[in-house]
Structures are given as C-alpha cells and as structure tokens.
C-alpha cells in the first residue's frame, strides 16, 4: 500500500512528497513577491528617518529571516525528493 505520510527520514509518502513539490512549485511566486518587497523596503529604508527607519530595519530583519527559512525549506525539500524518488532510480 502506498504510504500516506511515510517517513522517519528514510522515505516519503504522497503527502510528504507533495509538500516538497509544493515548496518548489510555489517558488516562482514567492521569489517574485520577495524581491519586489525587499527592493521596495530597501529603497524606503534609505530615505527614512527616526521611528520609520527603525520600523523598516525591523522589516528588513524579517526579510532576512524569511530568506533563511525559504532557502532552508527548499534544501530540505530537495533532499526529501531525492530520498523518496531519485535514489530509487
């Protein structure tokens, strides 16, 4: 029977693999939104002063955090897909 969740890091069922595929397939949209908003906030940060500048500094830390999360998720997704399918080829 095809496993639903699978796992213990040694394989993947369709839901786990689907999550990995979802992370990769949503990348074009996520990347486009990410770049647009980061460029917007960096430009605003250059002009901002006082409390607005502190607020934008917080936003930029948020984007840096998001970048680490996205990159980490994609790395794990790639590894999961490899573990599940490519290694069986």
């Amino acid at each position: 029977m095809f496993d639903l969740v699978a796992a213990n890091h040694h394989g993947a069922g369709w839901m786990t693999t689907g999550f990995a595929v979802f992370l990769w397939s949503s990348l074009p949209i996520i990347a486009a939104i990410f770049v647009y908003r980061v460029v917007r906030d960096v430009r605003a940060f250059r002009r901002a002063t006082g409390a607005d500048r502190v607020d934008l500094s917080d936003r930029l830390l948020g984007w840096a955090t998001a970048l680490v999360i996205i990159a980490g998720s994609l790395f794990l997704a790639t590894h999961r897909l490899w573990t599940a399918w490519a290694s069986k080829l």
Partner: protein, 180 residues
C-alpha cells in the same frame, strides 16, 4: 470595552481558531493526520483573512489584535506539545522553541506596561517567524525533517527576540511607528 464591541465578525471568526484546537490535538493523538492538517490549514487561512475582515467591517481594535496573537500562540503551543507528547517530535527542540516563544511573549507584556495600554508590539520579523511556524507545524505532521526545522526556528526566534527586546527597551515610548 462592551460586549458588543468584542462580538464583531472578525473576532468571531478569529475565535473559531481556538475552538478547533482540542479537535486538532485529538486528531494528532489518534494519528488522523489528514484531519489535523485540514484544521491546521483552516487556522492558517483564518489568520490570513481575519485582518481583512476586520477592516471590511470597520471593527479593527486592540482586543482583536490580542485575540489574534493569543490564537497564534495557542495553536503553536497545542500542536507542538501534542506532537512532543505523542511522539511526532523530540521534546527537547520543542521545549527550546516554546521557551523562546514565552520569552517573546514576556517582551510584549513589558511593552504593554511601558506604553500603558493594551496593544500588540509590532514586529515584522516576529510576524515572519509566525507565518513560517505554520509550515513547521505542517512539517511536524508530515515528519518532514521535524527536529531540524524546529531547531532552526528556535535559533531564528532567539535572534528576533533579542532584536525585539532591544527595540522594546530602548525606543522612546511615544515613537512607536505605524507600519509603512
């Protein structure tokens, strides 16, 4: 604050996130993964749209902000504790992550005391982490490198908490900026 002000469409929708928590915990404990995922996604979608509902019905307010934050914290707490107790994930990274979350919450209490009114401290970095935590909860249910994901989130949370505490304790009380 009157009952009529609390009972508005946005708060009613947000409060359903608290109501589904016991069902989600039961679903996890009995390994009904699909049901737990559906409830998790429901909670995430409501979190995305409740702000828009509040603006549409012109009923946004500090109580709704706090209810939203409490719903987030309740979701993370219940799902992760259930996951640790029922063997989805090692309890040590969960305890570290939730500990960082408690320190984060204490910072918000300090902020409320400093400004003298009930308000949710605005931290974009913290919101970013909160959004990512939904994906971590999905990862927990799907056994998607769970310990790695939770440890990573713990490290990022500590960085953001240090940054938030610095802002909470050093910013002048009257200079809290609105989001740009």
């Amino acid at each position: 604050m009157t009952f009529g002000k609390i009972m508005n469409p946005a708060n009613v929708v947000t409060s359903t996130r608290l109501l589904v928590l016991p069902v989600a915990a039961w679903a996890m404990a009995t390994h009904r993964v699909v049901l737990a995922l559906v409830l998790l996604i429901y909670s995430g979608v409501i979190d995305l749209i409740d702000g828009s509902i509040a603006r549409y019905f012109n009923c946004a307010g500090p109580f709704g902000e706090m209810l939203d934050a409490i719903s987030d914290a309740g979701l993370f707490l219940v799902i992760l504790v259930t996951a640790a107790v029922t063997g989805y994930v090692d309890p040590v990274p969960v305890a570290a992550f939730l500990g960082a979350g408690v320190i984060n919450a204490l910072g918000r209490v300090i902020h409320i005391r400093r400004v003298g009114r009930v308000t949710n401290f605005r931290s974009y970095a913290s919101e970013s982490l909160g959004g990512a935590t939904f994906f971590v909860l999905v990862a927990v249910l799907l056994d998607f490198y769970v310990e790695t994901a939770v440890w990573s989130m713990t490290i990022l949370t500590v960085i953001v908490v240090v940054h938030d505490y610095w802002r909470i304790l050093t910013l002048p009380r009257e200079s809290e900026a609105g989001h740009v």
